[in-house]
Symmetry: C2
Subunit: 344 residues, 2 copies
């Protein structure tokens, strides 16, 4: 008999169906050892009663945890927000719940969040971000994740390698390459890069692509003015200031993500530098506002939502011995923020 005013338990279902607890559990978990008719009866009764297994009891008893932990830098950064949206979508389809954490771009705090998540016994950890500057932090995270996986945990990274886990990785290098090529095609010779903090793998990879494009055209990457700041709008503003001051002959700025590009545009507007007539600007990621900026932003489109989904898919699959790296597509989207280099 279900207790008055309480959620039904498995015993309630079992009693109604006149079977044992074990049989009811097996039937609802869809595992073998139950005849089809009995299993159907049990499922139907469960549905009638509105039975939903208590996840705490289930997990305690050794069943799989049905929650996935997601760590991102900041949920109100559009890049991470779109990734999170993808993860949450797919999780909902699978009946999983997503526990979300923000690292605030602080590797120490991120490690702490990771430990917290694991201590909370989530079944799956997804970790976004861009790697650590500090190799010791990185090693600690690797170790934590390795131990987690050894105990049956699943993990995947988004846009970050070097964590020793499966990862979905955009081709940052090819993206950087495409951007530099696009600008050179437009005749730009003095190109500056507004980069996120050095040490991030994302920064290194995108930058490598830019350099290789320059070299390909027989130009030294020493020509390239690279200014490091951080992957935010504020960082973009600061980088733009520095570029305008220290490299006044620059005609094109490659911001290594869209947030920085927005900051760059904002500074150029303030300084009354017309875009793209006097200065071309490109970004990276194609967050959804990029198309609505003025001027609309030329950038590399990354399928962020899809990346989130893919990461979860990767983590859900049985783990192979080799680390899997799932590349994602990317696409140069040319809009109004780039134009021919101004005549000198």
């Amino acid at each position: 008999m279900p207790r008055a005013n309480q959620r039904p338990r498995l015993v309630d279902v079992a009693e109604h169906a006149a079977v044992s607890l074990a049989t009811a559990s097996r039937a609802l978990a869809g595992r073998e050892g139950v005849s089809a008719e009995v299993a159907d009866r049990i499922r139907q009764i469960a549905a009638e009663l509105g039975y939903v297994a208590n996840p705490y009891a289930r997990t305690l008893a050794g069943g799989a945890s049905s929650t996935v932990g997601l760590i991102v830098h900041q949920v109100d950064d559009p890049y991470f927000a779109e990734i999170a949206a993808g993860v949450i979508q797919l999780a909902a389809e699978q009946g999983l719940l997503v526990q979300i954490c923000q690292s605030g771009r602080d590797p120490g705090y991120e490690l702490q969040q990771l430990r917290h998540l694991i201590a909370q016994r989530v079944g799956i950890v997804l970790i976004g971000g861009s790697g650590y500057d500090d190799p010791r932090m990185e090693a600690a995270a690797r170790a934590e994740l390795a131990a987690f996986q050894n105990h049956g945990g699943r993990a995947a990274a988004i846009g970050r390698h070097a964590l020793g886990i499966d990862a979905v990785l955009p081709d940052n290098e090819a993206g950087g390459h495409a951007l530099a090529q696009h600008l050179m095609d437009l005749g730009h010779r003095r190109i500056a890069v507004a980069a996120g903090s050095a040490g991030l793998t994302t920064v290194a990879d995108r930058l490598a692509g830019v350099s290789s494009a320059l070299r390909q055209r027989g130009r030294s990457s020493a020509d390239l003015a690279v200014v490091h700041s951080d992957f935010t709008r504020g960082g973009g503003r600061a980088a733009a200031e520095q570029i305008l001051n220290e490299h006044p002959d620059t005609t094109a700025i490659i911001a290594l993500n869209d947030a920085m590009a927005m900051g760059v545009l904002s500074t150029l507007r303030t300084r009354r530098v017309p875009v793209p007539a006097r200065m071309s600007v490109v970004g990276f990621d194609d967050v959804s506002v990029a198309a609505d900026l003025a001027p609309s932003l030329t950038t590399i489109r990354l399928p962020m939502t899809e990346m989130g989904r893919t990461a979860l898919t990767l983590a859900l699959k049985p783990r192979s011995t080799r680390i899997r790296r799932r590349p994602t597509g990317h696409l140069l989207v040319v809009r109004d923020s780039t134009g021919p280099a101004p005549a000198t």
Copy 2:
């Protein structure tokens, strides 16, 4: 003895401290019945062992659940993203984990998510959004939340009343009033509103504020062209098209949120309507990109992150018999998207 390669359990702590399970539990929960010295010893040993209570076992045994469920329309909508950021921040400070769900602006799906969350035994439910069009859906959600609270659950709403739970509410009406007033001060007489879908309380409230401002100046709100669409950029574009076609003498558009305002600006740019020279545009919310648009957007600033924190605070507090409504501040932020009405 801690099992090799396994997280320490409470028994491990108890054995090390040479006390019983019950004493260890009491000491770590900080409840009375343990002498100060013993409690200190236990806590220290727990720390040394890196003991973290298994939340599944804790919750099963009747301890409080330490997870809060958050339902928003879409995490990659900046408005909700900022709210979520606030919730997640405060939750982290309190050692709570946030389970996040997206309703996709679909009341039916939202209800389903709510049920799922409750079935998953989260301790606290926070629900953002803007109410339901369908009164039956709304009643269902009310009932679900009431039952949840009767079983000891905590709940709070963000920007939505009529759910029968504590809520943090911006003064939507005053905000709408301020926007309309600002435009009238600039001499605008033909004002159109790009509204989210009718039936949302947020829409109704903001609209009421606009109307009351008009009436206050002795103008009929029948003069006001109100176009309903939805609270997205696409919705804003559609609404702007409709306004330009059906009300060509409009000189100012009030978008009832920033997302719509961005859509409006995008359409005006496409149609080559100069802003603010030919048309003034205002938004509502002041999402962080609003300042970086071109032109930067005049809007009402809402403290979204703070609202998220406040909602959690509200839910954390012991429930009073009366429903509490916590208002939030708001502020008219005048930027470059508004200017004097063009001379006729």
